[in-house]
């Protein structure tokens, strides 16, 4: 049989076949190009057209007090948006009856729920864009009522919203967040690593009706919620202390006041109350200067509360005892021709070191203090934790200033708390050291951070306990602080609480002028003490800055007494069964 074409038809058939073959090859190549070479790109384009990606916001963790009471938490709030191009009257059916709702009426209904004026909303409904924000962060109740209005041009977007159920309670510690969810101050800022979560995302393909296509490719990254930060703060006590400080600061027309309660044997900060205090829910209502924590940030000269440290140093060095005798004149001259005076007018007195503390005599304490070299006293200050930030490492915390070397007069003025600065938290831990028999503990404000998966990690670095004073020294100093309260004549006697042995020391510190030369006429008054003195459990440091109706520390003892009574009630401390030792104040 021959292969050559034998007829015209055969030739035509073969040509047709050739054309078909060529086309098949072309189509085949094109197919390879689409299906293999460009497949990933085309698939991606196609997927992008059908796919929707939504961010699943992670919820920021709570901040809770020592009992687990929520101080800060995150809820969903709802941004209310409209599509102005769709704004028009619409029909609403209620109980079978349909009525047309005008735009104006709908606006009034929305405004009523959001508690704004309709006139504020009206301009936002106009325009040619498809998006206009009417209101940010409506709460759940408002959201529900708005959705019930069934307005076809109203849209909602759920956004995490930070709330502080107790308002300004511990507000200065907690800090606050910006409206767009950034931490701005306080623990919110410093502990962001614990509190912040990681947003998740979900991508899926959807049909025309917006419902997910069942067998479609889906990508989901689950959000990781933030951890729960547990504080050492006892919120009930904190509330009480804030109430008291708010009352006295306003009564004495002071700039600000603070009260710190520390558990002497653990270093836990049970209360860090301040007035003014910011309400983090509405921080813009508080002037900028009052939005932070002065307990950790404000530095000032401590004044006479530091005499306790000078006395303790001298006793610890073995150069004085509580009954060491000095002659304290009204004023005396020291090196460089400087004159040092007592704040109250008196004749020359024969005082013991105990009497020096009761009378808070400057001329008396310098006679005790100068028995210890300045360098040694500086070393003690360091061991007491002065001149450095505490281990809490609060956002913007102050370190205070102590000078390693000094000129002539500062050698003396530092003995009664001038020419050096401290923060309220540092002063509280000066007395915690004494109350804890000479061992300074690491301040503990943050107990732990519990992650969303339940893993608990310590939230802060603690320093090792520092032995500052011998136990015998601490015991003698506590006894002197007790006599400061039990004996008549000094401010301390106004801090006495019947039934309890209380120890404490007053301070009326001068405030340096802004230019550093000289002092202003107003003072920083304070009273720091502990209870029960036979076995100190709690330390309380009260400071009131620039009071205008009182000029000395007599203004600090009423809040001290009030708060300390509440501390004793709260922790059910039984009344003392022993009496305070009596140390002679004069000779």
């Amino acid at each position: 049989m021959k292969n050559r074409p034998t007829s015209v038809d055969d030739i035509r058939l073969r040509r047709l076949m050739a054309v078909v073959m060529v086309l098949a090859v072309i189509f085949g190549l094109r197919l390879v190009q689409f299906q293999i070479v460009e497949a990933p790109k085309i698939n991606a384009e196609s997927f992008a057209k059908r796919a929707v990606t939504t961010t699943i916001p992670a919820m920021r963790g709570d901040i809770v007090d020592v009992h687990g009471k929520v101080l800060a938490t995150t809820v969903l709030a709802y941004d209310v948006n409209v599509d102005p191009t769709m704004v028009a009257p619409f029909d609403r059916t209620v109980a079978g009856a349909t009525s047309t709702i005008s735009v104006q009426q709908a606006t009034v209904e929305i405004a009523d729920i959001l508690k704004v004026q309709p006139a504020e909303l009206a301009p936002k409904l106009l325009g040619t864009s498809h998006y206009s924000n009417l209101f940010k962060q409506a709460n759940g109740s408002q959201y529900r009522r708005l959705t019930a209005l069934d307005i076809p041009w109203l849209f909602f977007e759920a956004v995490p919203h930070r709330i502080y159920p107790n308002g300004a309670l511990a507000g200065n510690l907690l800090g606050f967040m910006s409206n767009d969810g950034r931490p701005l101050e306080g623990l919110e800022l410093a502990q962001d690593k614990c509190l912040a979560g990681v947003d998740g995302k979900e991508t899926y393909e959807r049909g025309v009706d917006g419902i997910k296509i069942p067998t479609s490719r889906q990508i989901a990254v689950a959000p990781q919620n933030g951890g729960t930060l547990k504080l050492s703060i006892d919120s009930d006590l904190q509330y009480y202390a804030q109430q008291v400080m708010a009352h006295y600061v306003q009564k004495e027309r002071a700039d600000w006041g603070s009260a710190v309660v520390v558990e002497a044997k653990t270093g836990r900060i049970l209360t860090a109350a301040e007035f003014p205090s910011v309400d983090p829910n509405n921080f813009t209502a508080t002037p900028d200067a009052n939005r932070r924590s002065r307990i950790f940030q404000a530095t000032f000269e401590p004044g006479s509360t530091l005499k306790t440290v000078t006395a303790a140093t001298a006793i610890d060095q073995g150069v004085a005892t509580p009954t060491t005798q000095v002659i304290a004149p009204q004023s005396t001259f020291v090196a460089g021709g400087y004159r040092i005076s007592d704040s109250h007018v008196h004749t020359t007195e024969h005082l013991t070191l105990q009497g020096v503390l009761i009378e808070s005599s400057n001329t008396g304490i310098i006679q005790i203090g100068k028995r210890v070299p300045y360098e040694t006293r500086f070393n003690y200050w360091q061991k007491f934790g002065l001149g450095e930030r505490t281990a809490v490492n609060f956002a913007g915390e102050g370190s205070g200033i102590i000078h390693q070397t000094t000129d002539g007069v500062s050698v003396y003025t530092t003995m009664f708390g001038q020419a050096m600065t401290v923060t309220p938290i540092q002063t509280a831990f000066l007395y915690q050291t004494i109350a804890n028999m000479g061992v300074r503990l690491s301040p503990e404000l943050l107990l732990n951070c519990k992650s969303a998966t339940g893993k608990v990690t310590p939230a802060e670095n603690k320093i090792k306990p520092v032995r500052v004073l011998k136990p015998s020294t601490a015991r003698q100093v506590i006894s002197m602080l007790e006599n400061d309260v039990t004996q008549k004549g000094g401010v301390g006697s106004t801090a006495a609480i019947p039934g309890y042995r209380i120890g404490g020391k007053s301070g009326t510190a001068q405030i340096a002028k802004d230019n550093g030369i000289g002092y202003v006429s107003l003072h920083a008054i304070s009273f720091i003490g502990m209870a029960p003195a036979e076995d100190p459990q709690y330390v309380l440091a009260v400071t009131i800055y620039k009071p205008r109706t009182v000029s000395n520390s007599i203004g600090a003892t009423p809040p001290f007494k009030d708060i300390l009574q509440q501390v004793l009630r709260t922790y059910r401390v039984p009344p003392s069964t022993t009496k305070s030792p009596n140390i002679p104040a004069k000779w």
Binding site: V70, P165, P498, D562, L568
Partner: protein, 225 residues
């Protein structure tokens, strides 16, 4: 080959033409049997797949519905949670205590049971010479939910009722009513856990506030706390 001999053949009566040959149909033709099974199998799989797809699609809609319901319940939980937190805030409790006539005594007295001794000087709070703090000085802009003296009384009444009240409360909450405790109008009509009042619209009129008064046992508003 003529047609006549073929006509004389008695069986089979049917034949399949394949090319130029006819294949006799046999009852137990294995190839036909396998082919039939395969076709039926494919058809079965196709129909099954179709049914599964329909079922899945319905499931997806059901899932979407359940998700919406879950969202609604979460919203309920959130609204109620916010209320509980607001009601249990120190500011609200202090206000509630004051509304009941309670006052903090700045001159507390301590009793030592073992020695039967009284420490401190007993003074009635109202006669105390010490400073008395009689108002809330710690601001809380979130305090929209307040306990009033009247609502406390209602809470105590409600707490004495049977657990049926609690069931009503649960049902009421699940239907998604808004919960706001009015501070100015302590809802005298509130006699169950959660009572809806003025909900919805009347002829498209301006919306009246949907109010649910929290007086039930679910809210810790009792003065004994």
């Amino acid at each position: 080959m003529s047609a006549m001999p073929a006509l004389k053949q008695s069986a089979p009566s049917f034949s399949i033409i394949e090319g130029y040959k006819s294949i006799p149909m046999r009852r137990n033709n294995p190839r036909l049997f396998i082919t039939s099974i395969a076709i039926l199998g494919f058809l079965g799989i196709g129909v099954g797949n179709l049914l599964l797809n329909i079922a899945t699609s319905e499931g997806v809609y059901q899932l979407a519905h359940l998700k919406a319901e879950k969202k609604e319940l979460a919203l309920n939980s959130e609204i109620l949670g916010a209320q509980v937190q607001s009601l249990s805030s120190d500011q609200n409790l202090a206000n509630a205590a004051r509304a009941l006539g309670m006052q903090s005594n700045a001159n507390p007295v301590f009793l030592d049971v073992s020695s039967q001794q009284v420490y401190g000087k007993a003074l009635a709070a109202v006669n105390s010479t010490a400073d008395r703090i009689s108002s809330n000085l710690v601001p809380n802009s979130l305090l929209t939910t307040k306990t009033t003296a009247n609502s406390l009384k209602l809470a105590q009444d409600a707490a004495n009722k049977t657990s049926a009240t609690a069931n009503v409360a649960a049902t009421s909450v699940a239907t998604g009513t808004t919960a706001v405790t009015p501070s100015t109008k302590p809802a005298a009509s509130a006699n169950s856990g959660w009572t809806a009042a003025n909900s919805g619209y009347v002829g498209g009129a301006k919306s009246s506030t949907t109010q649910v008064v929290s007086t039930g046992s679910g809210i810790p508003a009792a003065a004994s706390h």
